[in-house]
Amino acid sequence: MKSLRKPFLLLTIVAMAVLLASCFNAAPQPSEKDTGEPAANTGGAFPMVVTDFEGRDVSIEKPPERIVSLAPGITEILFELSLGENVVGVTDYDDYPAEVFSIPKVGDFQGPNMEAIAAQKPDIIFASTLSGKNSMEALQRLGIPVLVLEAKSIDQIYNSIEIIGKITGKTAKGDALIADMKERMADIQERVSAYPRKRVFYIVDTNGNFTAGRGTFIDHLINLAGGENVAADSEGWAQYSMERIAEKNPEVIISAAHAGNMKALYRLPGYSGTDAVKNDRVYVISDDNIISRTSYRIVQGLEEIAKFLHPEAF
């Protein structure tokens, strides 16, 4: 159909040009220019440049008023710093404090919803790797500052509180929170230091026998709470054999809140002969999030574990 070919071709070229142009004309990227002050958190003075945990420099013009948090840990910190009213978007993962349930959801288990986020007109987005690597690019194209403050250690949790405090003008509250956390942590560690370490096994899921090995937050907490993680010969979230559990003979077993039926545990071959089961020292964490979420409540998690391990210290 020769008569239709030329206009069709022209239309295709124009359409592609428009598409390509829109890609490049996307919202301005967050400032990657070196403003002369490396990782400068210009205390209190706006506009400021902060460096997030991924090493990206993000420019903050003024304290954000509409905040979208894609990281439940950050949501908790925001609320604790009395910024709850400024939070305009959270994810399906968020469940603490109770107020979050009435905040619009802009992300589900499959990732953040760009349209929903944009609809809330936020002036800052706190992202996490929970959203997935693909989302990061999409988020940045929205033209809103994106900060990743995903803590991988307790020190980084303190750091994230500090940064949030600075950019929202709540430095005093932030510092107070950090100080409180540090004090409680020190107190717990001092109490348990008087007692010998207990061998601990942590169950993440009874189906498949998953535990928290070396390098996980939980492993770290167990060590701080005066325990010895018997699964330290595994790395990360790992499956662990029944034989090893029987051999290592943990004195205390701690289970995640949703690990499965604990009564069934007593019957299982590897567990049934352990000191933990014989002495009935099998405990369940009240809320999985206090030991795995990067929020100030991690201290609560540490406290719970410490009490399981050394009840006589409290």
Binding site: T206, S241, M242, R244, A246, E247, G260, P269
Partner: protein, 325 residues
Amino acid sequence: MKKPAAFALLIVLLIILLAAASVVGSVKIPPGEIMSIIRGGGDDTYRRVLLGIRVPRIVQAAVVGMGLSVSGAFLQGLLGNPLADPYILGISSGAALGAAVSIVLGLGTLGTQAFAFIAALATIYLVISLSRLGPGTGGTTLLLSGIAVSTFLSAILSFIMLISHQQMSGIVFWMMGDFSLISWNEVFVTLPAILVGTLIMYLYSKELNAIIMGRETAEHLGVNTEKVFGIILACGSLVTAAAVAVSGIVGFVGLMVPHITRMFVGPDNRVLVPFSALTGAIFLVFADALSRTLIQPAEIPIGIITAVFGGPFFLYILKTSKTLK
């Protein structure tokens, strides 16, 4: 080699393998200790590891291997389909759904085993009932019914996994097949069921030979095909359901072992069945040993190990069937 001699050799091989498998694992038990334990003494912990965890698991692997292979052989003959395995009539989908429901409800190992077992049997009953809607209980009708029910149940299972994403990894792990939760309890319950079921099926080997030649031919030879179909399906389902309930979905054993054995001993089921039983037991004990030792202290789910063998196996079948042409 003469068949009786070969059979004896396989038995010896199985015994050696059982012994070898008892010696390896994520906990190194010194040989001296093993001797003490056999004599009734030995260190408490090692004793518990060897006799309480390792041995029942190895025995279960052998029993399941035997059960699945025999069921597979019979189903292949019954349905006239070389790609048939014990799960083809929907047992795996049903059992998985039952297990998933139990896991989501947090019912513990016993609950999961019970739910999986009941669901498996309910599924096969459903499949057989539905197949009566079609023209006779022929192989094709059963297959179609099985696939229809299987697909439907899988959809429900996927949905459940989607809405209970917290338990999803537990469900997926169960589906990959797993001997890590086996204790003597499981062995005591499943061993009689699988042994009896397998034995009864074996008694119908001659009838199966006839059915393979065609239902009409079989009827003319005096075989009550309706009855034989029923008995074999019932026993095969019982054996498979018992196996799946305690160890999840261990794939490829029921499919591959009869084929491999057939290549060596021929298609006469009176010979094929016992040989498949032994070969299946040997294969699964070996696979289980691998699953326990390759990435210790973690374990590779047994279903993954059997699937690793399965892929190349199919390629081999592809190659040999081409040369036959």
